[in-house]
């Protein structure tokens, strides 16, 4: 219902399309994070104080590995969407605003590379 009325807003202006999509994708990541947070947190609280081998074995299991990887990547994406809205609300100087948004974008992509590297390495590690 609400999505159909939002679609009517699309295409009115370039800015309008962008903001509407931003809003919809933010809800999309929120919904994905509902099951992912539950699954990941339950896994994490059970192993965070365990020795290396045990933690490694847990996250070498394909399901646990994928859940943790998706939880972290989608959280990063969701964080970026959220912080963009916060910055748009509170940073009124357009130059500063755009610079901050760009720096956050670069930082997030850097973290995405670190995370994917870590998870592939963990998955392929030999005990």
């Amino acid at each position: 219902m609400i999505f159909r009325s939002l679609k009517g807003l699309r295409g009115q202006s370039h800015k309008g399309v962008e903001s509407t999509n931003h809003w919809i994708i933010q809800r999309f990541t929120s919904i994905l994070l509902i099951p992912l947070s539950i699954l990941f947190v339950v896994n994490f609280v059970r192993v965070f104080d365990k020795p290396f081998i045990e933690v490694l074995k847990t996250f070498q299991h394909p399901v646990n590995n994928l859940v943790a990887l998706l939880f972290i990547l989608i959280s990063l994406w969701h964080y970026r969407q959220g912080i963009e809205v916060v910055i748009e609300d509170y940073v009124h100087d357009l130059g500063k605003r755009n610079l901050t948004l760009r720096l956050i974008g670069i930082m997030c992509w850097f973290l995405v590379i670190v995370v994917i590297f870590s998870f592939v390495t963990i998955y392929r590690m030999e005990i």
Binding site: M1, I2, R27, S30, I31, L33, I34, S37, V41, V42, F44, V45, R46, F48, D49, F52, V55, L56, F59, A68, I72, S75, L76, Y79, G82, I83, V86, D89, Y90, H92, L111, V114, V115, F117, S118, F119, T121, I122, M125
Partner: protein, 130 residues
């Protein structure tokens, strides 16, 4: 009433707004969202240290299992479940459910109760896992 266009009141209006349960919960949703980034960063470091090898993992594990480390994890856990439930409430609002003042008041208490319950539940799962 004319105002200098350069000097309009812009958000945040927090300093001139009388705090109420709903407004406090709302701003806390933002604050926990921002703070949770540091928990996420800690998690990324944890997995990165694991991928480097046992020596670096043991070092980082000792750090997060110290008293200060555990307090940071506990804080992140509380912030996570709080943000989770206020977020779910936002999703209901987004599809137009629960807007009446009475329902907002009720869901505020529901959010707080759910948050505290999930914090206790996850702590119990953590403690009673052998």
């Amino acid at each position: 009433m004319t105002q200098d266009p350069q000097n309009r009141p812009l958000s945040p209006h927090l300093t001139i707004y009388r705090p109420q349960l709903n407004s406090v919960l709302s701003i806390m949703h933002r604050i926990t969202g921002i703070v949770l980034f540091f928990g996420l960063l800690l998690l990324i470091f944890w997995f990165f240290s694991m991928s480097v090898g046992q020596a670096s993992f043991d070092l980082f594990s000792a750090l997060i299992n110290s008293l200060i480390g555990k307090l940071i994890l506990l804080g992140s856990l509380c912030a996570l479940w709080y943000h989770f439930f206020t977020g779910v409430r936002h999703l209901f609002w987004d599809v137009g459910i629960g807007f009446g003042l009475e329902w907002v008041q009720r869901s505020s208490y529901a959010v707080l109760i759910a948050t505290i319950s999930l914090i206790i539940l996850t702590l119990l799962i953590g403690v009673f896992t052998v």
